[in-house]
Amino acid sequence: MGTEISILVLLVFMIVAALIAAETRSLLSSVISLGAVGVGVSIAFLFVAAPDLAIVQVSVEVLLLLFFVRSTIGREVEHVKGRIRWPGLLLAILLCAGVLAFGVYALRSLPPFGSPVISAVKEAPSNLYLEKSLKETGAPNVVAGIILDYRGYDTLGEATVLFASILGALAILRGRAKRRKEK
């Protein structure tokens, strides 16, 4: 019960921080509020006993915050003034309400907090991983055993995506710089 209340408090904190990030006037405050959301996610991971995710989340969040601050500092946003377009706003509100209703309906079918689905289904592969991971992979950290042994393809794909994106960013940025030098 205590965990649920802590996570609810964290959720409210994250929602408030996200609203501030979306509504504030200064770009720097917006970026910092975004960092607060990330730290909230990291603490929430700790509460549901996922330290691996918490470590990755907090380190990536700090680094991304540095990236964002570096790229937004000294820049101002231009605020667009204009009339509110009612049909679009109405459509957006309707869409949000629909998604919310569907979410409430779908979340009802989930098992209660703290009792994962795998405890109900004996043949679930997750149970197999938990039982045999230490014996088969030799890694006490089951997460490492799963992502680098059972699910190695996923990690390879993830590494490939990272490689390709860095390559693309590097090619684009460097090409512009070189062309400028030749002038």
Partner: protein, 160 residues
């Protein structure tokens, strides 16, 4: 970038070592404790980015040149792929943990669980180097919006 004040520089000089070592620790013991290659790589990249911010990019690029970082990035990806490909030869299938089958090692030891620490180190090299490259590229170049709305990329020194 010229760097920051003496206070920041002095603290950064002491702290960067600990951040770097913590990243190494999280990477190397990724199969025993929470953490792993991705988190360790990000933390190691953060230690180099700290140097970049505190001392300016010249010192950081002297410690880890862009060409070396790009090499480390590729070497990490290659190690990952080659160890996984060896799984076909020694274990029968792609991504088979062949080191674990040949040399089991004791559980809960640093040298155990075969290929998983190797994968962790490879991912750490890849992630750390590529994030450092991205940050340097982003801090060297800067997008400037001109009056007619088109974009232009300039280097920081040109502007100042």
């Amino acid at each position: 970038m010229k760097g920051m004040t003496v206070i920041v520089r002095t603290i950064a000089r002491w702290v960067k070592v600990f951040i770097f070592l913590y990243g190494c620790l999280i990477t190397i013991t990724g199969h025993l404790t929470p953490g792993g290659g991705f988190a360790g790589g990000v933390i190691i990249a953060a230690s180099f980015i700290l140097i970049t911010l505190a001392y300016g990019k010249e010192l950081a690029l002297r410690q880890l040149p862009l060409r070396a970082a790009a090499g480390l990035d590729s070497v990490g990806a290659l190690i990952f792929l080659v160890v996984a490909l060896f799984g076909i030869g020694f274990g029968g299938i792609f991504f088979a943990n062949w080191i674990q089958r040949r040399f089991p090692g004791g559980s809960f030891h640093l040298l155990s669980s075969g290929a998983i620490p190797v994968y962790n180190i490879a991912i750490c090299l890849k992630v750390g180097a590529s994030l450092f490259i991205t940050f340097v590229i982003m801090s060297v170049l800067r997008i400037v919006v001109q009056k007619d709305g088109s974009f232009r990329m300039v280097q920081d020194e040109e502007e100042e």
